[in-house]
Amino acid sequence: MSFYKRKEIPILLTTFIALVMIFSTFFKVKAAQDFASTMQTWVLVIVNFTVILGIVMITRMHKGRIEKRKPGDNSWIFSVWLIVLVVFYFLLGVYGVESSRSATPTRNPAFAWVYTNINVALDSAMYSMLAFFISSAAFRAFKARTKEAAVLLLSAAVIMLYNAPAGSVIFGPLAEQFNALSEWILNVPNMAGFRGILIGAAVGAISLGIRVMTGRERGYLGAGE
C-alpha cells in the first residue's frame, strides 16, 4: 500500500472533519451543522455495523479454541457455551424487535427477562466485587514507607472513618469537629489536586487534538513515522 494511501489521506480526512465539527459547534452556520449532523449519523451506522464484526471475531476465536482442544482440558466447553449464548441472545433480540415492533428489544418480555435477571444481575455482582479489590489494594498501598505515603494513609483513615458509621461513635463529643476536618480534607486539598489534574488533562487533550489534526501524532494510524 502506498505511503499516501496509508498516511496522508487519513490525516487529511481527520483534519477536515475535525475542523468542520469544531466550526459547527462554535458557529451557527447551517451548511456546517448539516454536514456535522450527517457525519454523526455516519458514525452511528459504521459503529453499529462493527458489532457484526465483533460477533464474527468472537465466534472465530472460540471456534478455534474448540478445534484445538487438548485431552484433559475441559475449558473448551465454555467456548461452546459462549457461542450458544451469543446465537441464542442474538435470535432473542431479533425476535424481540420483530414481535414488539420496536427498535428496542427490551420491550419484549422474554428479552427483558433475560436482560434483567441474568445480565443486570451478573453486572451488579461484578461491580460489587470492587469492594474486595479496594480492600486488598488499600492494604498494600496504605503503608507509611515515606512521608507522602504517611499523609495518604492518614487522610485515607480520616475519610474512611468519616464515611463509616463507627467514626462518629468513636469520636463521640468530638464528632462534629472530626466531620468538619474530614469535609475540609475533601473540599480543599483533595478538590485542589482533583481540579489541577482535570485542567492538566483537558489541556493535554487539546494538545493531542492539535497534534492529530496537524498529522504529527500518527500513533492511531500505525506505529511508523
Binding site: L53, G54, D123, L198, G200, G219
Partner: protein
Amino acid sequence: MPKLRKLPGLDAVEEAVGRATEMARPVVISTGIGGLTDVTAPQTIAGLSMVGYVARLCARYGARLIAPARMPYVVPVETEIIQTAFNEEGKTEEAARAGDMVQYLSDSQFSYTIAYLGILRREKPGAHIMVGGYWAESLQLAEVGFTAGAVQIAGTANTHQIPFFVAACDYALIGEEIYAAGAYLSKDPVQSGSVAGQDIGKAIALILMVLGIILNAAGVTYFLQLLRS
C-alpha cells in the same frame, strides 16, 4: 528540542517488555473501555499510540502480545497498528497474525472485565500495560494483574480511577501524562514542543481563573454570561 521531565512510567515500558520476554510470558496491553466517537476518544488515541510502541518492542524482542478490546470498531485499528509495527521490525510472519493478537471480548463493561480477568489469570503476563479510559473495572484489572505477577504500567485521565492505578500498579501515568506519551516516546522535536506548549496552556488557564475570580468578586459577570450562552 524542549526538555521534557522524566516520566518513569513511560521509561519503564521497554524494561517491562524485556522482563516479559525473559520470563517467556506474554505482554498484555489495553486501551480502556472508551471509544473513538465520544469525549473519551483522546484517551483511546493515547492508548493506541502506546499499543504501537509496545507492539514494536514486542516485535523486536520476540514477546507474545495480547490486546483485549472492548469496542468492536477499535479492533481493526489496533490490528492495523500492530501489523504495521511488526512489519516495520521485519517480522512479517508474525505481522500476518496481528488479528489473533487483538481479542474482542465484549461490548458490555463487566463482561469485558470478566473476560479480561480470565486472560490475566490464564496467561500470567510478564507485563500488563493499560493506557486509556478506564472506569470501575480499573482496580479489578490492576489487582488481578498484580496477583498474576506482572509489571504494571497504567494511565488514565479519568480522575476517579487514578488513585486505583496509583495504589495497585508499579507505575502510574496521571492525567495529561497519557496524552504526552506519544510525543515523549517519539522523540520528535515538534511533538515535544506541543507538550511544552501544554504548560503555556495551563498558565493561560490559571491566569483566566484568577481573572475570573477577581471579576466575579467585583460583580462583573459579563464573561460568565458570555460563556454560559
